[in-house]
Symmetry: C2
Subunit: 210 residues, 2 copies
Amino acid sequence: MKVAEPTIERLIQYYRLLTQMKEEGRKVVSSLQIGEMLGIKASQVRKDLSYFGEIGKRGVGYHVNRLCAHIENILASPKVWRVALAGVGNLGMALMAHAAFQSYKFEADALFDVDPEKVGHEIMGVHCWHIDDIAKVIDERNIEVLILAVPAEAGQSCVDKAAQSKSLKGILSFTPATVVVPERILFFRVDIFVELEKLLFFLKEQEKIR
Amino acid sequence: MKVAEPTIERLIQYYRLLTQMKEEGRKVVSSLQIGEMLGIKASQVRKDLSYFGEIGKRGVGYHVNRLCAHIENILASPKVWRVALAGVGNLGMALMAHAAFQSYKFEADALFDVDPEKVGHEIMGVHCWHIDDIAKVIDERNIEVLILAVPAEAGQSCVDKAAQSKSLKGILSFTPATVVVPERILFFRVDIFVELEKLLFFLKEQEKIR
């Protein structure tokens, strides 16, 4: 089963919403309600969920607990991924502390930076190496995922160095620069700059209309 | 001219890439090259740019400087937006220091938190108020944009409080929770959780194939 990226994005959103509802003690939810909470059409919600084998009851909807467990299973990790973080500045530190990174699905195993005050030390319990050693350390420790939080101007050279390792399989970038990544490595980015500029653009458009 | 969100997303990506190229002293670029750097089809690049009135020369491409200036003009801000940040934890601090936020397009004018060690103090040169005063302070200071970096469980209540203000026009959320926002307020989110889960899902799929 080859799943499209937007489908998985929506599935992750459903999962998070259902987790919230479960915590609030809610029992059932309709596709219309899910759609309204997430800004997705109810027909799209039904289509997505039936694609993954869940069909709601007409007039009742979906059982929150069951649907939540079902999606959790789809998103479940077959193992704990070993993860490295490159760039232990403000953003890197914030990421390490961020709720999204407190997941049982992976383990922060190595840090990389160029700052002599950080290299050779433990930060939040994880050892920090020099960026120049990134490929060697990644291979030695069998790390498969790299979180990139280096400054824009260091993005490409950091990716080039890391891509020399054999064990690296995926990169999640928070670096505000366009980088070229070898095709064998999965690459996703969280683009703060794009979202911010987008908001400002549509604010401007809205002012024009008023 | 009503522009679709994905079009603006691509335009911002072109702009950033062209800025990088300009800094590197590059003079011309083809739609194929832009497309390859960004993972977008060359035909889409040409369509987007011609939509905004730029047509490349066959066999030559686009002039980097001219195209860059043209897009800059489209994305230009009519004013400096007054911005507030709610949640001055690790993530909020990282955002304030992040390159994307060092923009001449807006000015950080107020901080909000619940931590008694922060409320009433200046942090990085900006005063911090209690979250409970958010609507009042936003209106008094004519703030139009809110950056949301509070913990997931505080997301909705913070949005509800801020939405009581009259001057607020847009929210950019970094909070890993689904929140409901009144329609008159523009809402975008940078979703670290979704991107991370997406990466892990596709890593898993890739392992299955191998």
